[in-house]
């Protein structure tokens, strides 16, 4: 019940913030940027609930349980055996209640099986190289294509659901979802926040481009001044700073090493992914990483707060300042923001900030693992 509410209110808040920014641009010498409560309610009732209802019923029709019952118990067609410590006895033979392999008998039996093993060179090479691609951590019905496509969608759009385990991707395969979150999730981004994050980058681009050609920076007819500029920088940098600072601290805390599922560079990737996912408000994970320790819970929580609410503060400050400004006439001196050149500049700025902030960290994680 609690989570469902959050899942509605969070995107509705994003939409409300985005609309505040829109009003900042469209209203001329206005007095306010709208009513948050109105926007929140409208977004929830008219957009999110109808959309969710249709999607929820669709996935229920595909077999996702939606029931008030607790877990079902079913009889295993082939029983499995465990020892007293709860370790799975793989290959143990079971007759009724009697597990007929224990202690030394197990060892003897295993030796016998191994003697029959035909050790084909070709086959063991085949298995390690995986000619069909990497199926570890992927479901047979999705295969490699749908799994990696979804990995990109879910991180480009602040979604966070997964249909394969990103932790078991190849090094570069796992870097892509990480990078998409680190770029601030502006490809599609979260509901509302994807677009206002991108508009933050647009304001930054206008300012930088304006400085380069010596024109007054303006965007959509409103002048961009140092006040907006400062907040836009905060909007763009809050997420990378939060992610990097806290990953850095976590890397220096010895106890965090116990949370890692893989060693070496991949272990660092697991940690970096955890903070990137928190910073990008995403939710997907390199799931081998055990983030359920007091230290990690707290730092990841703080990362989420910073990366979510600092940009919102910045956007609202920009909206509030913009709404009071008069609209400027378009002249020959105006830098056009609707042509290919501006799009190119915008993409360069997004990549530049993302790449410059995260390249060193990525080099230590996925890139090192790939080369190693």
């Amino acid at each position: 019940m609690g989570l469902t509410v959050q899942n509605f209110v969070t995107p509705a808040t994003g939409i409300a913030v985005l609309y505040a920014l829109f009003r900042g641009f469209t209203r001329v010498k206005g007095k306010g940027v709208g009513n948050f409560w109105k926007d929140l309610t409208r977004a929830t009732l008219y957009v999110l609930i109808p959309l969710s209802l249709v999607c929820a019923l669709f996935i229920a029709s595909q077999g996702v349980p939606q029931t008030l019952k607790t877990a079902e118990s079913v009889e295993l067609t082939e029983p499995v055996a465990f020892d007293s410590e709860g370790n799975y006895l793989e290959g143990a033979q079971i007759n009724g209640n009697v597990v007929t392999m224990n202690g030394k008998v197990v060892e003897d039996a295993e030796v016998v099986t191994e003697e029959i093993v035909p050790l084909g060179m070709a086959a063991s090479q085949v298995a390690i190289k995986q000619p069909g691609g990497n199926m570890e951590g992927k479901e047979a019905r999705f295969g490699i294509g749908s799994s990696s496509t979804w990995a990109v969608w879910t991180t480009a759009a602040s979604n966070g659901s997964v249909n394969s385990m990103h932790d078991s991707y190849t090094p570069i395969g796992g870097m892509i979802p990480m990078l998409l979150m680190q770029l601030g999730e502006v490809v599609f981004g979260g509901v509302g926040c994807g677009l206002y994050g991108m508009l933050g980058f647009a304001i930054l681009t206008v300012f930088i481009a304006g400085l380069m050609v010596g024109r007054t920076p303006e965007y959509l007819g409103k002048k961009i001044e140092p006040y907006e500029m400062k907040w836009a920088v905060l909007v763009c940098l809050a997420t990378p700073i939060a992610i990097l600072v806290f990953s850095g601290i976590a890397a220096a805390v010895p106890a965090v090493a116990d949370s890692l599922n893989n060693s070496g560079a991949h272990g660092f990737s697991e940690m970096l992914y955890a903070y990137s996912s928190a910073g990008g408000n995403n939710g997907s994970a390199f799931a081998g990483f055990n983030a359920n320790t007091p230290f990690l819970n707290c730092t990841i929580g703080v990362t989420m707060l910073i990366a979510r609410f600092l940009p919102i503060t910045g956007i609202l400050a920009i909206a509030g300042s913009m709404v009071q400004k008069k609209k400027l006439a378009v002249t020959a001196g105006t830098l056009s923001t609707s042509n290919g050149m501006f799009v190119f500049l915008l993409i360069v700025i997004v990549l530049l900030i993302g790449a410059l902030s995260f390249f060193p960290a990525l080099a230590l994680g996925p890139v090192a693992e790939f080369l190693g």
């Binding site: 019940m1 609690g2 469902t4 509410v5 899942n7 509605f8 209110v9 929830t44 209802l53 019923l57 229920a60 077999g63 996702v64 349980p65 029931t67 008030l68 019952k69 877990a71 079902e72 118990s73 009889e75 295993l76 067609t77 082939e78 499995v80 709860g86 799975y88 793989e90 191994e114 029959i116 093993v117 084909g120 070709a122 086959a123 085949v126 298995a127 390690i128 995986q130 990497n134 199926m135 570890e136 951590g137 992927k138 479901e139 047979a140 019905r141 295969g143 294509g145 749908s146 932790d167 078991s168 991707y169 190849t170 599922n261 893989n262 060693s263 991949h266 390199f286 799931a287 081998g288």
Partner: protein, 199 residues
């Protein structure tokens, strides 16, 4: 001060209203509609024959006997429920495919599968038979992985290879619209047919 109080009251009212709308009404409507229209699926897609529950069609079970079709590698562990009964569950490995652990595991699995399938028609073991799935409970395997096991299944169950092939065909799910996803074979269904539980 008065203004701040006003905002606080509004915020609390909003949280309560949203909890009622999204948390109670919405979830009740979705649960209700799902139960009415997709009753079997919304209750976990359980395969039930003559009152006995054989399993969920969407969750894998471990099969290691020679008479059964084998599925994806499972990471099985035990779990005790509130009534004190031990139950099985499984999760992903989350291992990096570049790691040493992973290489050793795959080599072991390759040996085990080759030993179990001496008559297999191909030297190449389909990769989904030696890898752990994303959920650890993948109910399906690829058609190649199913066909790889045909000679063993035929021998152990006293059937012809043709009969096994037909069972596999019956349990195959095709690509959605011929494009999305992969063709897969449901392992539990195949095994229940082999056991004569399903037909």
């Amino acid at each position: 001060m008065k203004k701040e109080n006003g905002i606080l009251i509004k915020a609390v009212t909003m949280v309560l209203a949203m909890t009622l709308i999204c948390g109670v009404l919405y979830t009740a409507v979705v649960t209700g509609l799902a139960q009415i229209f997709f009753s079997k699926k919304a209750n976990g897609s359980v395969i039930e024959v003559n009152g006995k529950k054989y399993g969920c069609e969407l969750l894998a079970q471990e099969f290691t006997g020679d008479e059964y079709m084998w599925g994806r590698v499972m990471n099985v562990s035990a779990f005790t429920d509130q009534n004190g009964n031990t139950k099985m569950y499984s999760g992903p490995s989350n291992l990096s495919p570049k790691s040493q652990d992973y290489k050793e595991l795959v080599e072991q699995r390759v040996k085990r599968i080759q030993a179990a399938n001496p008559d297999a028609k191909s030297d190449q073991i389909p990769e989904d038979l030696v890898t752990c799935s994303g959920s650890g409970l993948d109910p399906d395997i690829s058609i190649a992985a199913a066909r790889y096991q045909i000679p063993r299944l035929a021998k152990e169950n006293g059937m012809t290879e043709n009969e096994i092939e037909k069972i596999i065909d019956k349990c195959t799910t095709h690509k959605i619209l011929g494009i999305f996803g992969e063709e897969t074979v449901n392992v539990l269904k195949v095994n229940l047919i082999l056991q004569g539980v399903l037909s």
